[in-house]
């Protein structure tokens, strides 16, 4: 993946890029005004990153929220009890990008409750909780050993974690703004030393589908 060629001058190309400097910020940390707020002002519905990876016969889903938390802010950060995080799964043969299964996580009195995976009541922008709680756990406090909820073959963790995302966002912004023409030969991770509020769920692959699935995470505020 690393490109080791010497840099080339890009010249006029960046005049165009510079004119469209409105596209900033990164992975999806503080991506949109409706969910914006960095560090302690970040609101619980801002999703920063989504991960999905295999561990043997299991699949692990990670939904990170509330990006750019300093250690001090992480110590007092909480999950918003008005916000439900949802992992949407399209396991249809046609991959129509409509959710066939959802895994939902709600937060109440310092605990995380996971529902699903189960078919949603309705697809789309409005959600209702589905079925009974599959697994729950205490939200892990800052500095505490991870509290892992286990029920059958499903696990859940919720709490502050180091942000696994890495990117020289500062330099990218300079490039997009037209004040730099390339990345530095040694980049600087803008997200170094920062934390997120993480939801991690592991369950058997067989519970979410076969072959290939499409997933996306959403945050949803209680009406």
């Amino acid at each position: 993946m690393k490109i080791t060629n010497k840099m080339k001058m890009l010249g006029a190309a960046f005049l165009v890029v510079g004119a469209s400097g409105a596209y900033l910020i990164a992975a999806d940390h503080i991506d949109a005004p409706g969910v914006t707020g960095a560090g302690p002002s970040s609101i619980g519905s801002d999703i920063t990153d989504v991960y999905a990876f295999a561990k043997g016969d299991n699949i692990v889903f990670v939904v990170n929220t509330q990006g750019l938390l300093s250690p001090a802010a992480s110590a007092t950060a909480t999950f918003d009890e008005e916000v439900m995080l949802e992992i949407n799964i399209d396991n249809s043969a046609t991959k129509d990008n409509v959710e066939d299964l959802v895994i939902q996580a709600t937060f109440e009195n310092g605990k995380v409750y996971v529902h699903g995976p189960v078919a949603p009541v309705t697809t789309g922008l409005t959600s209702t909780l589905v079925g009974n709680t599959s697994v729950s756990a205490d939200v892990t406090a800052y500095g505490e050993t991870p509290v892992i909820g286990t029920e059958g073959s499903m696990k859940v963790f919720a709490g502050p974690r180091e942000d696994p995302f890495f990117f020289d966002l500062v330099r990218y912004k300079e490039i997009i703004a037209g004040t730099a023409s390339s990345f530095n030969e040694v980049g600087s991770d803008t997200f170094a030393g920062t934390n997120v509020m993480s939801l991690v769920i592991e369950l058997p692959k067989s519970q979410v589908g076969t072959g290939t699935i499409n997933i996306w995470a959403t945050s949803n505020r209680k009406n």
Binding site: G34, S45, L125, R161
Partner: protein, 178 residues
């Protein structure tokens, strides 16, 4: 619902100052709690890179994936052109301007339940996203690298290759917070 409230109001009037006790009527159901979507994300940095600032980002977050392709493919292709300063030539995966814009516009994460899961590891492409995947370099290479992956070499890697803390070998895998 309104009927239930009217009924409860009537009961309350009859009960007067006496302590109210819930009725056991069949209508006495817990109201269904609904949630409205605010943020949405799958592949890294899509909203960030391809959607203009302001309310457009909120609109993207509230567009269901099955409607994204129609809504955003054309705009994403134009954005690829703008980023490159020329008409987007295609990428090293062999995807044309239309192919790549169409792929990105529908913001879902493809996850294989059989193959190695990686955003891109040299062999597996878009089969998931592992914690250590250098997703930004993958996206930069596909956006700026041209059909051979060798164009704009100063833009195809941010030269940050790994996270700043080691991941755990066991659940919950993410490192302890700083």
């Amino acid at each position: 619902m309104k009927k239930i409230f009217n009924y409860l109001a009537t009961v309350a009037l009859i009960a007067g100052a006496v302590t109210f006790t819930a009725c056991n009527d069949d209508d006495d159901k817990t109201p269904v709690v609904t949630y409205e979507q605010e943020d949405q994300m799958a592949r890294p940095a899509i909203n960030t890179v391809f959607i203009p600032s302001g309310t457009a980002k909120d609109v993207f977050n509230e567009t269901i994936p099955s409607a994204m392709g129609t809504a955003y493919a054309t705009a994403f292709a134009a954005r690829l052109d703008a980023l490159n300063g020329v008409t987007y030539p295609g990428n090293a995966l062999g995807q044309s301007r239309t192919d790549f814009a169409g792929l990105l516009a529908t913001d879902v994460l493809n996850v294989s339940l059989t193959a190695t899961t990686s955003f891109y590891d040299g062999t597996n492409v878009l089969t998931g996203r592992a914690l250590g995947d250098d997703v930004i370099d993958t996206e930069l290479l596909l956006i700026f690298g041209g059909t051979a992956g060798s164009s704009n070499p100063g833009l195809t890697s941010d030269n940050v290759d790994a996270n700043d803390k080691a991941f755990l070998g066991t659940f919950p895998y993410l490192a302890a917070p700083f």
